[in-house]
Amino acid sequence: MAHSETTTAPGSIEPGWQTFVHDWSADKQTFHVPWGKAMMWIFLLSDTFIFTCFLTGYMNVRLSTPVPWPNPSEVFALEVFGVSVPLLLIGIMTFDLITSSGTMALAVNYGYRRDRGRAAALMFITAAIGAIFVGMQAFEWSKLIIEEGIRPWGNPMGASQFGAAFFMITGFHGLHVSAGVVYLTIVGMKVLRGDYEKKGYEIVEIVGLYWHFVDLVWVFIFAFFYLW
C-alpha cells in the first residue's frame, strides 16, 4: 500500500485535517484500505440512505394519520405464565443481535491473528445467532398476521398504516440478516479451507462491517418503531 510519490507515507502521524487534504488533493489513491473494504463502506452508505428513507416514510405516515397509532408495547407483548410482558420478544431479539455483534468482532480479531480455525468458528456462531434472529422474526410475523390480524392495509388496533410500515421495515431488515447469514457461512467456509492464507484476512473484517451494519440498523428500528 506504499506510494513512492507521496512525501509522507500513508499512515504516518500527521494532524487530522492535514491528512484529509493530503489524501483528497493529490492524484493518487484516496482510501488507504483494501478496495473491498472501501466498496463495502460505500455500499453500506447507500444502504443507510435506503433505511433512512423507510424510517422517514414511517415517520411521515405516523405523523399524518389522525387515527391513533397502535401501541407497539402492547402489540408486541408476549404472555409468559399468564403475565403479559411488553416487547418481550423484541427485547430478546435485540440481545440476540448484540451477542452476534460481539462474536463477529472477535472473529475479525482472530482473522487478523491468522487463527483461521477460531475465526471461522466464531463466524459460524455469528451466522447461527443470526439465523435464530430470523426464526424469531418469522414467529413474530406469524403471530401478528394470524392471531392479531395485522395486514399491510389495515389492522384492528388503529391506524391502517401500521402494518405497511412494520412489514416493509422489519421485512427489509430481516432480508439483510438472512443475506448476512448466507454471506457469513460462505466466507466462513472459505476461511476454514485456508483460501485467504496468501491474500490476508481483510475479508473477515469486510463481512464484519456488513454484519455490524445490520445490528446498527436494528438499533434505529428498535428505537423508532418499537419504543417510540
Binding site: D23, W41, L44, P66, Y201
Partner: protein, 117 residues
Amino acid sequence: MADAHATGQQHPLKIYFVVWGLLFLLSAFSYATDFLEHGYFRWALILTFMILKAGFIVAIFMHMRWERLALIWAILGPPVVLLVLIGLMAVEGDYTEFTRLDFFSEPIAPTGHAEAH
C-alpha cells in the same frame, strides 16, 4: 495506530469485551424505557441510548475510530443531508394531518369555518 493498515485492524481483545458489555447494558436501558410514560423524558432517553449504541458499534466494532479522516468523512458526512429529508417530511406530515382533520373529520370544536365542508 500509525501502522494499523500494515496488519489490518488489530486491537487488544479487551476493548471488544468492554464495548460488548456496554452494548448489553445500553440495550437493557433502552428496553427499560418502555416502562416509562410517553413524553419528552422517555423520548430523550430513547434517543440517548440509541445514539450511544450506534456510536459504539460504528466507532469500535466497525473500527471507524482508527480509520483516516478521508474515509470517515466520505462515509459519515453524506448521511447528514438526510436530516433535511427528515425535517421536510416532519413538516409535511404535520401539515397532512392538519388538512385531514380540517377536511375529513367531524369538527372538534364548532368553529363555523369547518361547517363549510
